[in-house]
């Protein structure tokens, strides 16, 4: 280690938030600690705003009109595609056999909310432009195809909730994209009442997939993934500045020829299936864990009960300082499966149950696991989403 530097004290402005802060609860089953105490008051505002999908530019400038028109047109197209995608997906969930591979699969995002306000274009940043139709969550049935040795699957259920607040995205799995940029897979579990969670997770997934296609692929994978997550944080903060209060977890993997890098914020999970067992690769940002640590180190008391599950980091949290991420690619091995899950999956299914599906192709495994979640008929079953990427 670097001896002369080892004792350096961090300047205040880059300190990670030290103490455990009871900031947010997960989902609506812990209402005593929801993110926004004034939520009900806000939800009305939200409903109003989201009823009129249109870009909202936080920084009004002159010469905006042509952009507005183009952006609105794109959104309309995107919304139509999202509706079609939703119908197709529902049909697929009803055991319709997936259609054969299609030459180019557009990026898809999960349950793209139809009335999401897309964040407006950001100044001087070409990556923040409005989505092109190709990146807007279209759907076809080529999932399960094998590209460059990788196959993937995804499935989700709304559970017993009113809204689907989970979203996911998988980058364009064509050979060219995979060779130059790699494969991005991500899952986001939205937080907030009414539509808000959906807005946050949908926007982040949508933009993440879009930006992935525009990033400089020469840069290290860990840096690219960090940049995507940070842009997602900015997206949710921008939504919140317009009066919403929402947030989302994020679990993401970026696989290149060198291997996989991971990034996680919140309490969703990334697990690796290898050699017949599961390994959780990320750390959940939950109050229970942090308060246990504070208690053991003599700096506080352990939190008990439901509050243990409150999440302490999420995209959309002001002053987000902690992200959990790997710095160097982990080489993947044939037979490996990377699982990205929201808590609706792993709170309902045991590791054993998940393990038993791992010998199937990723799409079959994803479908089977989500079907199992539904079959359990758990009261108040949370939204559950899983994305599986496998190397064969």
């Amino acid at each position: 280690m670097n001896e002369e530097n080892a004792m350096l004290t961090l300047p205040e402005e880059v300190l990670p938030t030290a103490g455990a802060e009871p900031l947010a609860a997960q989902e609506t089953d812990a209402p005593e600690e929801t993110v926004a105490p004034e939520e009900s008051a806000q939800s009305e505002v939200v409903a109003e705003v989201t009823a009129q999908p249109g870009p909202v530019d936080p920084e009004p400038r002159s010469g905006l009109n042509p952009l507005l028109i183009v952006a609105f047109a794109v959104i309309v197209v995107a919304a139509v595609i999202a509706v079609i995608a939703g119908v197709l997906r529902r049909r697929r969930r009803d055991n319709e056999a997936p259609s054969g591979p299609v030459p180019t699969e557009p990026i898809r995002t999960g349950e793209e909310p139809k009335n999401v306000r897309k964040p407006g274009p950001r100044r001087m940043d070409p990556m923040q432009r409005m989505p092109t139709t190709a990146a807007a969550g279209a759907q076809n049935g080529s999932s399960g195809s094998v590209v460059e040795g990788y196959s993937f699957g995804y499935a989700q259920t709304i559970g017993k909730r009113e809204n689907q607040e989970d979203s996911y995205c998988i980058s364009r799995p064509d050979a060219e994209t995979m060779r130059t940029r790699g494969l991005l897979a991500a899952v986001a579990d939205g937080i907030g009442g009414l539509n808000n969670g959906q807005v946050a997770s949908g926007t982040v997934m949508h933009n993440m997939a879009m930006r992935f296609d525009q990033q400089n692929p020469e840069r290290p994978a860990a840096d690219r993934l960090l940049e995507l997550a940070a842009a997602g944080q900015e997206d949710v903060l921008r939504i919140n500045r317009q009066g919403d209060h929402c947030g989302t977890t994020l679990v993401s993997v970026l696989i290149t020829t060198e291997g996989a890098v991971l990034l996680s914020v919140g309490d969703s999970r990334i697990a690796l299936f290898r050699a017949g067992a599961l390994i959780q690769l990320n750390r959940e940002h939950v109050l229970g864990r942090e308060s246990d640590e504070a208690a053991a180190l003599g700096a506080g008391a352990s939190v008990e009960g439901r509050r243990r599950g409150a999440i302490t980091a999420y995209l959309g949290r002001e002053n987000l300082r902690q992200m959990d991420r790997t710095l160097r690619p982990m080489r993947l091995m044939p037979g490996d499966r990377l699982l990205l899950m929201t808590d609706g999956v792993f709170n309902t299914l045991s590791d054993e149950e998940i393990l038993h599906q791992m010998d199937r192709p990723p799409q079959e495994a994803a479908d089977a696991l989500i079907a199992m979640v539904d079959e359990k008929q758990i009261p108040h079953q949370d939204n559950a989403t899983i994305v599986i990427v496998g190397l064969d």
């Binding site: 670097n2 080892a6 961090l10 880059v14 180190l297 991420r325």
Partner: protein
């Protein structure tokens, strides 16, 4: 009752340094079935005066806390408490002798074929599973914090990139402020063939992950010596102290069980 057994080997070399500031230790592997197993590796820092004292203290105090403390059912918490006990002693030593030092800690606690792990500082912890290497811990260095700060927009990008202290640690044994440890929440399920390697940066700074993966694939615990040999063969100028603690998880075969019966 565990169905696995654990073998363990630690190796150290001072490299081209005059003092050895790394240390490692483990509880009795023969007691794995009854009490579990704690294995610790620590890389001391703080110049000649104190570096080795803190690494030795970290190892000794964690082992003492593990052996003396009443059974904490959750291995993750048991490991955290052992670390907390060592940290308390280390902070006392800092205060009483006005020492400016510290140490990294990478530690694992194995019980009933599951493993809790904990890390502070920039040492590394790897799991070799199915022949493939997985780094389990995250190094806690200023560079990581600065890069995240730059991405999130509260540190200037240039400042993050040019900061001369990027390699310095944001957390270690004697860090007085409460910074989070890097640790797992649910114990990791072990499978036969798993190897767990705890290494100081004298190893990870000289060998690539690919090289390590190859060496750790040697049978059983022979990878420990192979790793030290490989680092020395690189003849790196100003090679830091190097240490590795390697655990090999194996199926308890009928033969193993018989051996144990005979020993009794």
């Amino acid at each position: 009752m565990s169905r696995l057994r654990v073998r363990l080997k630690g190796c150290m070399d001072p490299g081209s340094r005059s003092a050895q500031q790394d240390d490692w230790g483990a509880s009795d592997v023969a007691l794995y079935d009854a009490h579990g197993l704690l294995a610790v590796l620590s890389d001391g820092m703080g110049g000649m005066e104190a570096g080795d004292r803190f690494s030795k203290l970290a190892v000794a105090e964690m082992l003492r806390a593990f052996e003396e403390s009443p059974e904490e059912p959750d291995p993750c918490l048991a490991l955290l408490k052992a670390y907390a006990a060592a940290r308390e002693e280390a902070l006392k030593l800092c205060r009483s002798e006005n020492l400016d030092g510290g140490a990294t800690v990478v530690a694992v606690l194995l019980r009933e074929d599951r493993m809790a792990f904990l890390s502070v500082g920039d040492s590394r912890m790897y799991l070799l599973r199915g022949g493939g290497l997985i780094q389990l811990n995250r190094e806690q260095t200023l560079g990581v914090t600065l890069d995240e700060g730059a991405a999130l927009g509260f540190v200037f990008r240039e400042e993050a990139e040019r900061n001369v202290h990027r390699a310095s640690m944001t957390n270690h044994l004697c860090q007085a402020e409460d910074r989070p440890c890097d640790r797992n929440l649910q114990p990791l399920v072990l499978v036969p063939g798993d190897r767990i390697a705890l290494v100081s940066d004298g190893v990870s700074g000289t060998l690539s992950d690919q090289e390590l993966e190859l060496l750790l694939n040697e049978p059983g615990i022979s990878g420990a010596e192979a790793v030290i040999r490989a680092v020395k063969e690189k003849n790196k100028p100003r090679q830091d102290n190097m240490s590795i603690l390697l655990l090999a998880v194996e199926e308890k075969t009928a033969e193993n069980l018989q051996e144990r019966e005979e020993a009794k």
